[in-house]
Amino acid sequence: MSYIFLQNYWWCLISLLGGLLVFLMFVQGANLHLVNPRLTAIEKNMVVNSTGRKWELAFTTLVTFGGAFFASFPLFYSTSFGGAYWVWILLLLTFVFQAVSYEFLNKKDNLLGVKGFRIALVANGFLAPFVVGVAVGTFFTGSDFVVNKMAILDSAAPVISTWGNSWRGLEALSSPHAVLLGLALVGLTGILGALYIINNVQDDSLEEKMRRAIRVFALPFLVCFIAWVVILLLRDGYAVDETGVVFMEEYKYLHNLLDMPAVIVMLLVGVVGVLLGLWAGAFTTSRYGIWTAGTGTVLVVMSVFFIAGFNGTAYYPSSTDLQSSLTIANSSSSSFTLTVMSCVSLLIPFVLAYIVYAWRAMDKTKITQDEIESTPHKY
């Protein structure tokens, strides 16, 4: 296997993990509906107990996504995490609170009360997809950093990757394009969350409220997503030539799509999947919209990553110093490490198989109020 093949293979795996992460953020999306004033206390409890049985999987996918990025493209990890400090700390804090909220929520003496931990779940429900969306948005808008490997020789200032401003990543909020993707992701995960609840909880009243919520979320989601795609296809992009020199190219991301027909197909199939799921959730009595919308989500996110990194593109561009931009080629682990990791990745189908098996076994009985009461461990 050539080095280039391995690098591209790992970019595909990162893209897949990114897609699965966004899909599994239905946990966050469902929790966002806890602010819905139409939901009764019992219904909110059912939502929490439903997402509470899947949050581990979403959390683990986030950790694995981060770990895989660290392992396969360590220069991205050191540059982005060490640079866009506040973005990652914010994301981290919301997930840290989410992780304990389920266990603490309904316990006596939890100091913050049910409301406090419910707010933490809602905050995570909004901020997690928003921050991830804005962070991925900077893959196309660029960030303010410089990479200088010679810096390691200077013991007074040895850091290789340095950020150019004190906003430390929060400056991405001033980019309407990046913010649009963040908002689109909030909308998408809100829809996925409602679809998941419809599928996982057996309660007519809650189901009707979730279908209504999908109709409410649909328009803002579609507006943000379409606006983001249109701007993406019209904007200049960060191209890389064969010698590794980065330069600006007009309509770069449109060119990427046109140059990669398979990605166009993937994107279109994904969008259709999301729309079908949305339609099924909003306007039919089907409970299976989560699966079409979920599959569509994975495909759309993968195609966004492909547009960002393939076809001679800098996936994490520096708007300050073009030549510091990160590409699949200049930021990856060594050939041997990627080979070993690739061998390990052959176990992924086995892992997916047991996750599907366990998921099916656990979800064959839908969640109801009675079911929650009969379970020894409830939130």
Binding site: T60, F70, Y77, F81, G82, V100, I160, V340
Partner: protein, 493 residues
């Protein structure tokens, strides 16, 4: 204090806090797996309810452990940016294996374990319980492979083109994953978790005995807890002995600091407390030979000859070689595109001296000495505490086996009060391991001051206090909820 110190404090605080929850997860996972096995084998609902009670406490603890684990992963990048670039290629494979093999196993079967009692078969549920614990332990192995590589960096080649350590061959990969330090550290850490789990179960059971409640439950649980804890204690002692040998061989300064040994030699004494020594004992522990040579702090600074007859250069000489490595690296990178021959020469010099590269960043030889008092006293608390806990577990096992445990009030008190001690012992153990290897992030290759990010002091201070507040809040809530759950007790008598 500067950014470096705040970054270190923040990482130390997070790691120490994380280690409050991990050992109990590892230990209780084994305890509940054993109890559920008893339920399935004996077909006795009593054990099912007992398992469910301990599982409830496991869940309260597990959530905070997971929440704090992700903070460490993020801090590698946010506060230790250079480090994450420098080691990324080495940690890549272990992390991939950890993610794919361990994380998802733990996450998937955790859900079945908690919510699957009425949804899956008894056998599948039992397998899920075991797999949750096994997943947590496999995860521990791979993260300890990474930690051990920092203590003893094997299988690595420095690549001057990428300016990082790289893993270049199958042999190197095996060296990394079978690093002897990793194997002993894994056994030591995981089985210390068994001790924590065992002491916790015994302590809580003794609370019930003292209150005269749930006597049968407490008696049986204490016996299982003591058995698991005792098994852990034996493994901790065995792996601790091996760790001592490894430390003497690969990190002699850590050992010298742990012993407060200024001047070493053959038949080196083991210090119990300052002024009280056992002659020759340190040589036995560090080399398994009473005539084995153990270097002291001054020997390491000035250079010495080790037990294999190798001449170990003084720190000043290592610093000289380190500076040569750094200047050769600079020369190589400046010349590689314009003068390949001169670049090749520079690269040769770099490769000859690269093992001392980290020393090139030091200002004076004494920089290699860790905080001796902290390491010395931590080591004593760890060993003394461990021996005391072993005795407590042994007594609980003995009285439990004889059926007298409910009558020995003094032992119940001692066992209950031993719960904080087992946490203290684990914490100081990590202080020995991590403070003892200062100033190195990666032994000999990367000192802490070169491993950082270029983050402002205000940013690191802010996040330090935010995490401090969050950790304090979670700990208070966790303890209150745990105490409530214990007070309520199991559904069995």
């Amino acid at each position: 204090m500067d950014v470096l110190l705040w970054s270190r404090l923040q990482f130390a605080m997070t790691a120490a806090y994380h280690w409050l929850f991990v050992p109990l997860t590892l230990g209780l996972a084994l305890v509940i797996a054993v109890m559920e096995t008893l339920y399935v084998v004996k077909k006795d609902d009593y054990w099912k309810k007992t398992t469910q009670f301990w599982m409830k406490l496991f869940a309260i603890n597990f959530a905070v452990g997971i929440a704090t684990g992700i903070i460490l992963e993020f801090e590698f990048g946010t506060n230790w940016s250079n480090y994450s670039w420098f080691v990324g290629d080495i940690f890549g494979a272990p992390l991939a294996i950890e993610g794919i093999l361990a994380f998802f196993m733990e996450a998937t079967f955790f859900a079945v374990m908690f919510f699957g009692w009425e949804k899956v078969s008894k056998r599948f549920h039992l397998i899920s319980t075991w797999l949750t614990g096994i997943g947590a332990s496999i995860s521990a192995y791979w993260i300890l492979v990474a930690n051990s590589w920092m203590q003893h960096p094997v299988g690595t080649t420095f690549n001057p083109d990428t300016v990082r350590s790289e893993m270049a061959s199958v042999e190197a990969f095996w060296e990394v994953i079978s690093n002897p330090v990793a194997v002993s550290k894994f056994i030591h850490s995981v089985t210390s978790g068994w001790v924590t789990g065992g002491v916790f179960v015994v302590g809580v059971s003794c609370y019930y005995l003292l209150r005269g409640r749930k006597i049968e439950f407490a008696r049986k649980s204490a016996l299982v807890g003591a058995a698991v804890g005792m098994m852990g204690t034996l493994a901790v002692m065995f792996s601790g002995d091996i760790s001592g040998i490894h430390t003497a061989e690969f990190q002699p300064m850590k050992l010298a600091a742990a012993e407060g040994l200024e001047d070493g030699g053959r038949r080196a004494p083991f210090s119990i407390v300052p002024g009280v020594e056992i002659p020759g004992m340190l040589s036995i522990l560090a080399t398994h030979d009473i005539d084995g040579y153990v270097p002291g702090i001054n020997d390491i600074i000035n250079g010495y000859t080790d037990n294999q007859g190798n001449v170990i250069p003084s720190v000043a000489e290592k610093m000289e070689k380190g500076r040569l490595a750094l200047s050769s690296l600079e020369e190589y990178r400046n010349l590689k595109d314009t003068d390949p021959d001169a670049a090749a020469l520079a690269r040769g010099v770099l490769e000859e001296n690269v093992q001392y590269m980290g020393y090139g960043y030091l200002e004076k030889p004494e920089d290699v000495i860790p905080p001796v008092d902290m390491v010395y006293w931590s080591f004593r608390v760890m060993v003394g505490g461990g021996m005391f806990l072993a005795l407590v577990l042994l007594l609980v096992l003995w009285y439990g086996y004889k059926g007298h445990i409910e009558k020995t009030k003094w032992l119940q008190w001692v066992a209950m009060l031993s719960v904080p001690l087992v946490y203290l012992t684990g914490q100081v153990g990590w202080i020995v391991a991590e403070v003892g290897r200062q100033p190195w992030t990666i032994q000999g290759l990367l000192p802490v001051n070169v491993a950082t990010s270029s983050v402002s002091l205000a940013a690191v201070q802010t996040t330090f206090f935010v995490f401090l507040a969050v950790f304090a809040l979670f700990l208070i809530i966790e303890i209150r909820i745990m105490i409530n759950a214990i007070k309520k007790g199991p559904e069995v008598e």
